[in-house]
Amino acid sequence: MSGLGLDLRWIPRALGLGLLAFIIFGPLTNLVLWAVAERWYFPHALPLKYGFSYWVAVFAPRGNATGSLVNSVVIACLTVVISIGLAVPAGYALARLRLPARGLILLTLLIPQAFPNLPVYVNIARIFYQFGLNGTVLGVVLVHASHGLVYAVWIATAAFSALDKELEEAARSIGASGLRTFVDVTLPLAAPGLLASAVFVFLESLDEFTGTYFVGAPDVTTLPLLLYTAGAGGNYQIASITALILLVPSIAFMLVIERFLRADVLSKVGR
């Protein structure tokens, strides 16, 4: 029967979807299981004892998690302020003014990403040491900003390029100065794109490990550093709980992107 034939043709598709679901949700399940496992060792497929005692330990006043979380958030916020503060004028200039080496400037911003991270950060750490920036929040923020600026400038450029120039000209023609036009028309209309790039920079900073390790550790501890220490010490529960905490802003980011970043902005990234 045709019904049976249809069912048969669904089998490979169902298998494919199942595999995809496993690839996506497998590690997540493992993570969640580890976060609530009290005792779990080979060859058992599932934890032997469940409980929240590690959560208590992580968030206990003596545990480093709360302090690291606060550090992470403060650093991420400062990074956003610096990156967006620089990306708004830079992105506007790249999008609107006829700069001769526009493509080159956009590419130059990518250079920190083009080289292997480790040697770059080791050198940054060496230079920062001379200025007394090592082990300070400012030092870590600067390292994160060098990283976040790329995304911020690229996305801000795209957000401003996607804006119809005539909307600004309409304001100029009925008497608004250049600055007034920027504040009243350009900025509000580019806000969704700028917001998305801010969230992106925030998450990048929250997740950043290598730079923080070389410039900040051991004086400045962030969540990824805590996760690394816990993971290296074989303490999978602490590591999983930290990872889950880091996951929350990522999901929030997806929702913001979905809500605010329009396709016409995305299509202009890098142009």
């Binding site: 309409a170 023609s173 009925i174 100065s177």
Partner: protein, 361 residues
């Protein structure tokens, strides 16, 4: 002549290309001038130069005797209505219309009253709280116009504001805009590629061709006395025949040709030299008859052409014939239908015939 808006020897360049080549134009206060031309003729460039968005490479733009060529757009006292309307999507209709007043620091109560007045003028009373995205094309067009009118601009600039509207709405909005302009006494410069729109709206029409002014005149002048073959063709005289002329005082003698009979036309101020010439005429300026019926009639101030009907169609009201004249064909409208292959005579009265020396082109 002391115009209110004066453009003197204005040139605009994009890189090496000269888009506007020495434009001289004077617009009186309260006058409605249409810049008419096909796409790429520089009409929008000229409008944007007046508004201050295209810098002049040379020349001057004066408003009321004051040179504004170096001023930024916001200091020129003009308002531009864009083809795309360019309404701000994050503001309501009220905020869009009131923005110019906010910039001028008008007190809130006075500004609200002015916005209400403008909305009433344009029939937008109910839409104050809507965003532009929730309006139809015609309503957006009126908001764009209202935003420009709210600030009482010295000069209103319109960049093809009707081209995005349905054909039917366009006809009514045409009359609305010109009635409004006359009522408010605003000086207006209107860019369009639509001949009829320019004819019915404007006091004067400026026809642009490749960055130069081809002719300036009232609608009747540019329609009935085109000064060049280009203007004649642009104003609808698409039909074309080659003739030989000899200018003798106040008369123009047309020599007998393969398609035309010998004729004598009154000169009526035509600038013309003896020699090869072209004659242009509209499809509705012709009296069509069978070859045998008119053979006796002589061409006095009128041209008689001989041709063969090639095609007949009925677009409504009249019959439209395609008539072959040697290696050219012309369109002829007639009350009566002539069959395919019929030998016909076309008689064009002298005052409907636009003759230009071939060298003039």
């Amino acid at each position: 002549m002391g115009g209110y808006l004066e453009i003197v020897a204005a040139r605009v360049r994009y890189g090496d290309v000269e888009v506007l080549k020495r434009i001289d134009l004077s617009v009186a206060k309260g006058e409605f001038v249409a810049l008419l031309g096909s796409s790429g003729c520089g009409k929008t460039t000229l409008l944007r130069a007046i508004a201050g968005f295209n810098p002049l490479a040379a020349g001057e733009i004066r408003v009321g005797g004051r040179d504004v060529s170096r001023l930024p757009p916001d200091k020129r006292g003009m308002a531009l209505v864009f083809q795309s309307y360019a309404l701000w999507p994050h503001m309501t209709v009220d905020q869009n219309i009131g923005y110019g007043l906010k910039l001028r620091r008008m007190p809130a109560t006075a500004a609200t009253a002015r916005v209400t007045e403008v909305k009433k003028l344009l029939g937008l009373e109910e839409f104050g709280q809507r965003k532009p995205g929730e309006l139809s094309g015609g309503q957006r067009q009126r908001v764009a116009l209202g935003r420009a009118l709210a600030i009482n601009p010295d000069i209103l600039l319109l960049d093809e504001p009707l081209s995005n509207l349905d054909a039917r709405i366009r006809l009514t909005v045409r009359h609305e805009i010109s009635a409004l302009q006359r009522r408010l006494g605003i000086t207006a410069v209107h860019v369009t590629h639509d001949r009829e729109e320019a004819m019915v709206m404007a006091d004067r029409i400026v026809i642009l061709n490749e960055g130069e002014i081809a002719q300036v005149g009232t609608p009747t002048e540019v329609y009935n006395q085109p000064n060049s073959a280009f203007v004649a063709a642009f104003m609808g005289a698409e039909n074309l025949v080659d003739i030989d002329v000899r200018v003798a005082g106040e008369a123009i003698e047309v020599a007998e040709g393969p398609q035309n009979r010998r004729a004598v036309l009154r000169r009526s101020g035509r600038r013309l030299e003896s020699g090869r010439a072209i004659a242009r005429f509209r499809s509705d300026a012709i009296r069509l008859s069978t070859a045998s019926a008119t053979s006796a009639e002589d061409g006095d101030d009128g041209l008689l052409l001989r041709g063969t009907v090639e095609q007949v169609g009925y677009p409504g009201g009249i019959w439209r014939h395609v008539v072959r004249l040697g290696d050219r064909s012309v369109m002829v409208d007639a009350e009566d239908r002539f069959d395919n292959g019929a030998e016909v005579h076309l008689r064009i009265p002298g005052d409907r015939l636009y003759v230009f020396s071939e060298a003039q082109q």
